[in-house]
Symmetry: C2
Subunit: 361 residues, 2 copies
């Protein structure tokens, strides 16, 4: 019988590096991510044997932001390492909205592409929501489409894809054997890409979930209730050891640069939790870097593999043809085959007449 | 400056009935609902003058469940009272899935219908998810479509419709002048129709939100943290006065029959909160009946009015024709004009070839 005050029991896990005397263990996200990539490589080999095909991930990047280009390079390298095909589309920073939509449409229609990423942020003059909405739900490996988020939030529904970083947080908790049922979980931050979806995932695991954010009052006392803390506020070292319930598990999603003259680049990356003071109180904590970070790309690869498996099992259309069952997933087929606003408008007219005529018969 | 321990400041409100000495006020949901219906009637009169049209609500009921028939009767009466048109479809309990889908498709395509309700529960042999997914998102006045739930959960997005009961809870809090920013809100229950969406709404109002449920441990101490409690567990009188922080606001969504020999029917309805003991501690509480109950139908009417206004302002297609802007709402048009699985399959084939050919050019 669990109690609200007991921390999640941790099984002995190869992914937990014991801390110094009296200190919590460090959760080795790098090791978990490497293991997941091994599992993915094995599945790719099987797919190649069975279907003569491998998963394909397309990345659209607009403009020359250094950080974005670094992320994209990492993603492309990760694809190569597990045997995926990469599809690149690098557009100049002054591309029009239609040019970006057309790039997405091209990948929506390409049966060798199973996942499409649009690297954010997009230049100011591009409507981000419209571009993300144009990605086929069947290829939305980021899991950010409202249809996926809706199903993530609903009991008894499953999204086609779970957002990668939140899924990575749960994967870490699973691989260290954390038992979440009935535990108090506090999520700090309510972003669409981390805070909100990770809260939904913790709820599906039967944790009692509290979401706090910039407007929350006395956050220290709220966090102190938590058996599991997911820190996703984007505030360097905001969460102090004095905020932590002894034995709690801390999953730190933050990646914040702070000045550090001792580093070649003049800065280093730290999390939203103050690692040194938190480690003294926590049962287990992820480091930054080397914690959640490596998980995000690993889960992106996993989502793309899942998508490719759906395509090659014939459960979904590759955009160029194929068949799949209509209900309840028909909506994803419809959304999943749209090739940008122009085609949408044409299709909507066809659909209107189609349903209209049906209504009259 | 608010503090975590202070209850939401309540402005003097015509909807608060003062309690006895030392007791909390009762929130008069009936009075709020009547006011909303007055506002709706006025808008209907304006619409009639401007467009010569009124909102139309269609209700599909399958089978002879007494309780369902009672709810449906109430909804139809409420429509008549505010000047809406009602569209009825009463199907026998042994109807096939296709017959139910066809009924929904007929209403999807009818430009005089702006809202479609399928009375739940459906008979066991009908796939409820498939039927709900077939309702045009543009006419989903229940707000249960995953696209609506997804946008409800996402920061910076707005659903086309907010589920009626959760919206009714927020409307009550607004009309009594409750200030939610930074307050602790505890939602008891995580259902798709009340608990989860009301938590999302409280979060959008900048409350610090905790969702607890059947697996939560020591619920009394969790509820005791709350400045605002939304009780939606479906457990008669589960929440006791001893669980309540002095001055807290209690919104009781429960409607549970308990034996009462003194009543003609041999039972009476009670909430999830033990009204008598909670009233002694709370700052304000809704009664059952007469609290949240009347709000649900009032908000259903409001959603239907909103939908009709969108149709007659030309912002959305009536299913038989019309125009609307493609992005970012095109997906709802596509979903919003499907007439059942048969048409879907035909359309999907057309769409596939459409996007396919676009890809080749």
């Amino acid at each position: 019988m669990t109690t609200g005050s007991s921390e999640p029991a941790l099984a002995a896990s190869p992914y937990l590096k014991p801390g110094a005397a009296g200190e919590g263990a460090t959760i080795d996200g790098k090791a978990v991510a490497d293991q997941i990539r091994k599992e993915i490589s094995a599945s790719v080999a099987l797919m190649k044997g069975k279907h003569g095909q491998v998963p394909g991930l397309a990345v659209v990047i607009v403009g020359e932001r250094k950080d974005s280009q670094t992320y994209v390079r990492m993603k492309r390298r990760a694809c190569a390492e597990v045997g995926f095909r990469s599809f690149d589309c690098d557009l100049p920073g002054d591309s029009t909205q239609q040019e970006v939509l057309d790039a997405v449409a091209k990948f929506n229609a390409n049966p060798h592409v199973h996942g499409i990423l649009v690297q954010l942020p997009l230049p100011k003059h591009i409507d981000e929501e419209a571009v993300l909405a144009a990605i086929s739900v069947d290829k939305d490996v980021d899991g950010f489409h409202p249809l996926n988020i809706g199903k993530l939030a609903m009991k008894g529904r499953e999204p086609l894809f779970t957002p990668c970083t939140p899924a990575g947080c749960l994967e870490l908790l699973d691989r260290i054997g954390a038992d979440l049922r009935g535990k108090r979980a506090v999520v700090v931050g309510r972003s669409n890409i981390v805070g909100m979806p990770v809260a939904m995932l913790l709820l599906k695991r039967n944790a009692t979930v509290t979401i706090c954010h910039s407007a929350s009052v006395d956050m220290a006392s709220i966090v102190r209730e938590a058996d599991v803390v997911v820190a996703a506020a984007g505030q360097a070292q905001m969460i102090k050891g004095s905020w932590i319930k002894p034995g709690a598990i801390i999953i730190d999603v933050g990646t914040n640069p702070i000045d550090d003259a001792s580093r070649k680049l003049g800065y280093r990356l730290v999390g939203d939790a103050d690692f040194d003071s938190c480690k003294k109180v926590a049962g287990a904590i992820t480091a930054v870097p080397g914690g959640v970070g490596p998980m995000t790309i690993a889960l992106l690869l996993k989502n793309t593999l899942t998508s490719a498996e759906r395509f090659y099992e014939g459960k979904v259309s590759g955009g160029g043809g194929g068949e799949r069952q209509p209900q309840p997933h028909w909506s994803t087929v419809v959304l999943g085959t749209l090739a940008g606003a122009a085609v949408v408008q044409g299709m909507v007219r066809r659909v209107l007449s189609a349903s209209g005529s049906r209504a009259r018969h």
